[in-house]
């Protein structure tokens, strides 16, 4: 979120004059009187820029990847994204299913309808530094008993931290991957899917 805060103060020193013209600010409401005598005005203007942090326009991670037959071949894909943060930032990820999940969830012993995979987060900071971390998708589910260190949503204190800033730097990505599934349970026939939500926040 981006914030611009500008304070404008107005000090007016006016000669007393019955025919003074009233001038009124729409900001702070100070009053200046002007007339035949010179008017001395001092207008100190100060401004500050608050933490601005988000994905760059068009730079949010998005898209879909089809891993193919997950019980036959390993797979990997990177979703690039670009941060636009003028200070330290945190990026976090949430998995909707905690793995690739089939619509069919078998009750028979030895069968499974969810396949694990890894989620890797790589962030690039100003100065060329980068930070990377990786977790199992299962630990990115909101119900995970042992959550990943960068589980979402991102807050000022939650998520993978990149510093000192990351403004429109290339190289950040979210990577998903898994070797060919080999068990121990047998994956049941079906289509598997998961949705990852990536959030960013200014960091403390």
């Amino acid at each position: 979120m981006s914030m611009h805060k500008i304070r404008i103060g107005l000090t007016a020193v006016a000669a007393t004059c019955p025919s003074a013209v009233l001038a009124q600010s729409t900001i702070a409401g100070p009053t200046a009187y002007a007339g035949g005598a010179p008017v001395s005005l001092t207008l100190p203007v100060t401004a500050s820029v608050g933490g601005r942090c988000g994905f760059a326009i068009g730079g949010a991670p998005s898209g879909s990847f089809d891993a193919g037959q997950i019980d036959q071949s390993g797979w990997s894909n990177q979703f690039p994204f670009t941060l636009n943060c003028n200070g330290a930032a945190r990026v976090a990820v949430t998995s909707a299913n905690g793995g690739l999940r089939s619509a069919t969830q078998p009750s028979d012993a030895g069968y499974a309808g969810i396949a694990p995979y890894q989620v890797k987060l790589n962030l690039v900071g100003a100065g060329g530094g980068s930070v990377t971390d990786q977790c199992e998708a299962a630990t990115l589910a909101v119900t995970a008993s042992a959550p990943c260190s960068f589980i979402g949503p991102a807050t000022q204190s939650q998520g993978l931290r990149v510093a000192p800033s990351s403004q429109n730097l290339a190289g950040a990505y979210l990577q998903v991957s898994a070797p060919a599934y080999t068990g121990p349970a047998i994956l049941v026939q079906g289509t598997y899917s998961d949705t990852l939500t990536v959030t960013v926040s200014a960091a403390l």
């Binding site: 107005l10 001038a23 690739l100």
Partner: protein, 199 residues
């Protein structure tokens, strides 16, 4: 008046400069990942890698009794007490339903048989599969009767662990009559089973 105009101008400028910054606060991205598992059956022996076929031998040993006819130890075999040692393996199927089929040919030897002798032995071949829901599924093929409804079936998920397939032979009988003498030779037969996913 000039002062007031300047202040108003400054206020307007702030408003204009702030609008683009608000548009840059995109803080959420979403990606989707999909994959698939096809209906498939593979032979995966415990500790082994997946293949599409398995072989084995049911060794029956000597078939004849002292009088030259088929030994009663074979004629009295049953599914529960079959001849030789069944061939067992583990088959992994991803589908909820599995199709089973079995065929076999007679035990026979190349040596010719004259009247009162036989070089062929009928029997029943059976494939028994352990099911995930418990119990077994069974298909059988009688070499005397040929293909019947019993030689194919559709069952549920196979038991996931351990050997879940057993192929056996039992109910042996000398072709042409129990009193026929078996000609000398090596008797062979082939049992072919098919296990495949049901779409």
């Amino acid at each position: 008046m000039k002062t007031m105009l300047s202040l108003l101008a400054a206020t307007t400028a702030v408003a204009i400069a702030t609008a683009p910054a608000q548009a840059q606060t995109v803080t959420t991205g979403t990606v989707n990942v999909t994959g698939s598992v096809l209906g498939r059956c593979s032979v995966v022996a415990p500790g082994g890698s997946a293949t599409q076929a398995f072989t084995g031998t049911i060794a029956l040993g000597a078939l004849d009794a002292a009088d030259g006819t088929l030994a009663t130890g074979f004629t009295t075999t049953t599914s529960a007490a079959s001849g030789g040692t069944p061939v067992a393996t583990r088959v992994v199927c991803t589908s909820a339903s599995v199709s089973l089929a079995i065929v076999a040919d007679r035990l026979s030897t190349a040596a010719a048989a004259v009247s009162g002798y036989s070089n062929e032995i009928d029997y029943t071949a059976e494939m028994q599969v352990a099911l995930a829901a418990g119990g077994n599924g069974t298909v059988t093929y009688s070499t005397a009767a040929g293909a019947t409804a019993a030689n194919s079936a559709t069952v549920g998920r196979l038991a996931a662990s351990g050997n879940n397939i057993a192929v056996k032979a039992y109910g042996f009988s000398t072709r042409g009559g129990a009193s026929n003498l078996l000609v000398a030779g090596n008797y062979t037969s082939t049992i072919t089973v098919n296990i495949q996913p049901v779409a």
